[in-house]
Symmetry: C2
Subunit: 201 residues, 2 copies
């Protein structure tokens, strides 16, 4: 061991969230879209991302496609596994926020307690958006043919049919996609993020 | 349901990794530091991050501090749990790379098979860096007092003492921190990332 390495000390992070936010020109946080399957969470999250990206922000959308087959591939759809799924997503999005990214999530996340746990974890920069849509409309859209299967009993514990969805009691925003078109929904979300100072007005 | 929402279709991501890389002015990837406890992985990863950040890159360092207490707080140190720990970190860093970030990881990750699985997962932009340091030197440094406890039998399955460390067979780079000082080590890593086109030369 030479002189230079003899004094090696435990080295903490010098690149902080604050420095990353300055570098990026916007603040970071977690924008959490919740709602029934077919309500339009993923569509809205991706459209908001497109708007934010064009405005120069760093963003990432998490949904079933990139989480369920990866980080959470060992989990099923029991209540315990859904809770663990949301816990891991919460922990991961917290690190994305630390990294200066605006993390947008599109998960049904039906249980209030699970969502509130993420809110506690992330802190002030957690923005809950209720993508509201009547069950009948979601079922009529049935984009992925899931409701039909759930009605036939082919999918068990399907939210809204055979498993509960607990509406947010005080989300930062609720958007009803059965009466509001996509452009207007995007505007509402982006305006909220501007009002909260996450992205420049 | 009005006309505009009747045609709602499944919306895929339009903000791609390629667009994020253009926005950031550098490519993204996973820089994986592996080595014994006390070899200097975390110190080196954070120092590399500082250099990259000053050069205008988007970075994030993962280590025990921000992963073991969060995403992997349900895992212990058995072989199975260590494997699951590395799997989750691999999946998460893959998403960070997707998000345009250069993810730097500082975990002992003692098993070759675990590291190779992450390499497979991440693909071409996985850069393995062996932070090499003789066990005797790591033990002498004993920054966190862990080796003393392991020798006393107070910590079980401690890598290098009571649990194996499998050296990388063909890492992209090996840095011996017992003979190379921190500045020179950082330079070697940054030069490698430049040579691979991850960051501008």
């Amino acid at each position: 061991m030479n002189d230079k390495t003899a004094n090696l000390v435990w080295h903490h992070a010098t690149v902080t969230r604050a420095r990353r936010e300055v570098q990026n020109g916007h603040r970071s946080g977690v924008v959490w879209f919740t709602g029934l399957s077919g309500a339009g969470k993923s569509t809205l999250a991706h459209a908001v991302e497109e708007a934010l990206h064009q405005a120069g922000s760093r963003t990432f959308v998490f949904d079933g496609d990139n989480v369920r087959h990866g980080l959470c591939s060992d989990l099923g759809f029991s209540v315990e596994d859904r809770t663990e799924n949301i816990r891991r997503i919460g922990e991961m999005t917290k690190l994305f926020a630390e990294a200066g990214v605006i993390a947008l999530t599109a998960f049904i996340s039906p249980l209030r307690a699970d969502r509130d746990r993420v809110r506690q974890l992330v802190g002030a920069d957690f923005v809950e958006i209720y993508v509201k849509c009547p069950l009948a409309v979601c079922e009529q859209r049935d984009v992925k043919g899931m409701y039909a299967k759930a009605r036939q009993g082919l999918i068990k514990e399907f939210t809204g049919i055979s498993s509960p969805y607990e509406e947010p009691e005080s989300p930062e925003l609720a958007v009803d996609t059965s009466v509001t078109d996509l452009d207007a929904s995007v505007r509402q979300v982006v305006d909220l993020l501007k009002a909260r100072g996450l992205v420049p007005a």
